[in-house]
Symmetry: C2
Subunit: 331 residues, 2 copies
């Protein structure tokens, strides 16, 4: 019989379709991806083409000019200039679309991806995330900073060159506010961080954990909403990514690269998104929230039921997906 599982973090139910479940290797890419050149003269993110984007706001220099480069998104969803102004008129609320939308070019190489970079390369990307998160958070118009990556067509990207993005909005989204307030309610009732509790249970159960480093754990959640989606959670309690020590940041790079390498090798480079789910900087140090990375391979489509109910049908077993990833060998 299928099973409904409850995600205590999002408070969403998921149907685990045990009887329709596909085996892990059925999610492998069907057709080979076309090979990319190491440099594409038309790519706005390739070295030498810096003039095709707005001027950089941040770079990590290297002997070849730069190693990581951040620039405002040329097709920005929000305006960097202007005043944040909220209008309330009857039931209508609008805010001027001010904020920050940056592109983080992760490497000079057009044809690489996180799974194929070195730990040191990924560490520079993580350091950049932390720097840009702090910089965006210091803008008084900004309420929330979302850092995310789209890899591949199905994940919504149009540019192949490895990059992530940062969008800083002048409001807190309802999704984040609800998660913060759910976590707060749990803390008030049980005097514990719900994420620390989940971490403890996952380590104890063991069956959904597929990778562990000194400071982080990677696991497929008990109520994973889509096949192979997973969480990378810091072991130390901290609500905000800006609280990472240097050693922890380096360790995050290691686990992120290795977890994505398992996905890359195990399923033949599937399209995926990842997102850093952090509390805003103003909640630095609060006891009830705990930041993490969500990785969401885009192996299935969202249809009318998901859109219409907010509930997902997962056609994979979290425990089976974790076992599969555990077995994929990576450096």
């Amino acid at each position: 019989m299928p099973e409904l599982r409850y995600n205590v973090i999002t408070r969403e139910w998921v149907i685990i379709a045990t009887e329709r479940a596909k085996r892990p290797d059925q999610f492998k890419r069907k057709e080979a991806k076309k090979a990319l050149p190491a440099h594409d003269p038309k790519c706005p993110f390739c070295p030498g083409n810096e003039a095709m984007t707005p001027p950089a706001t941040f770079t990590i220099p290297d002997p070849n000019n730069w190693n990581v480069r951040v620039a405002p998104n040329k097709f920005s969803a929000l305006s960097r200039e202007g005043e944040r102004k909220r209008t309330v008129k009857g039931i209508r609320r609008t805010v001027t679309g001010v904020g920050i939308h940056e592109v983080i070019v992760e490497t000079r190489a057009h044809n690489l991806t996180t799974a194929l970079l070195t730990d040191r390369d990924v560490e520079l990307v993580v350091d950049t995330y932390i720097d840009r998160f702090k910089a965006a958070s210091s803008d008084p118009r900004v309420e929330q900073v979302t850092i995310f990556k789209n890899h591949g067509d199905a994940a919504g990207t149009s540019l192949e060159h490895p990059h992530s993005q940062l969008i800083a909005t002048p409001i807190v989204t309802s999704q984040l506010r609800e998660r913060l307030s759910n976590a707060q309610a749990h803390y008030d009732e049980f005097a514990e961080c719900i994420f620390c509790r989940v971490l403890q249970m996952e380590l104890q159960d063991g069956v959904r954990v597929f990778l562990e480093t000194e400071h982080f754990v990677a696991f497929v959640p008990y109520a994973a909403f889509t096949p192979f989606s997973f969480t990378i959670l810091p072991k130390r309690h901290m609500p905000c990514i800006a609280e990472l020590t240097d050693a922890e940041a380096a360790d995050l790079a290691r686990i992120l690269r290795r977890a994505l390498a398992k996905l890359h090798r195990g399923l033949d480079d599937p399209d995926f998104n990842y997102v850093i789910r952090t509390a805003p900087l103003e909640l630095y140090g609060v006891k009830y929230y705990h930041w993490y990375v969500s990785v969401i391979p885009r192996l299935t489509k969202m249809a009318g039921f998901e859109l219409g109910s907010g509930m997902f049908i997962n056609v994979a077993l979290p425990e089976e997906n974790a076992a599969f990833l555990r077995d994929v060998k990576v450096d």
Copy 2:
């Protein structure tokens, strides 16, 4: 400058990317869809192939055997048999996956779609929705009934034959519970149904309404989250689709067919989902909720930002989309 708009129903902010906005005709289908035969001998929903699905639970007969046919989904996400049993163990909650998953075959013709049916055909489908909604709701294990349609690949369907689905779950999803409770909070504060208020404002503004019948209004919401998504709202206050009179049901069929015909002709048969957002039957008659149909053309992809923040960037202007649909001529 872009504009952030607040959806008072979902309490979600949307970025209306005014400067990146595409013109309505840029959303037209790029490549022609392949033509379908009127009958496909391998299609499980075509007449003559009834044995390829489980036995019907409901049919609307006609001289050719049936006109609308409902059967359990052969690959059901939930088990029709069994007991609803909830297990609570520490922070884990599970429920046995019992419920109802039915397929509603809308017509005998393999190659038609709602836009191309007659009003009378669509009326039979609406009548079927109401019957099956009531039947599913009468199952004591069922807490929520979602009726939806997936049209086309991008909308997550694998079968071309015109059909919708019903999934009845043994829990209330967090999405529905939040919307009910948001609407209730508004009622408590303002002594009005928030949907009735939205209706009144949309009729007054006029610019987002593109179709109106005796009992319904179709409009692109002020804070539409994706291009061309629209709402069909009953003018009379009613929380639950089961409250429709016969005349209203016939009128719903009319506006649904015409609205979808505008989409079909205006954008060359785009993929879309629709979903009926109704209160559960046990909330029949409550003053604070108001059911409606959401139509969501699948013209853009959900990427990392949307998944990671719950917030959408709409690259179309709701008022421009409405004007475009208003101008498309349909019978």
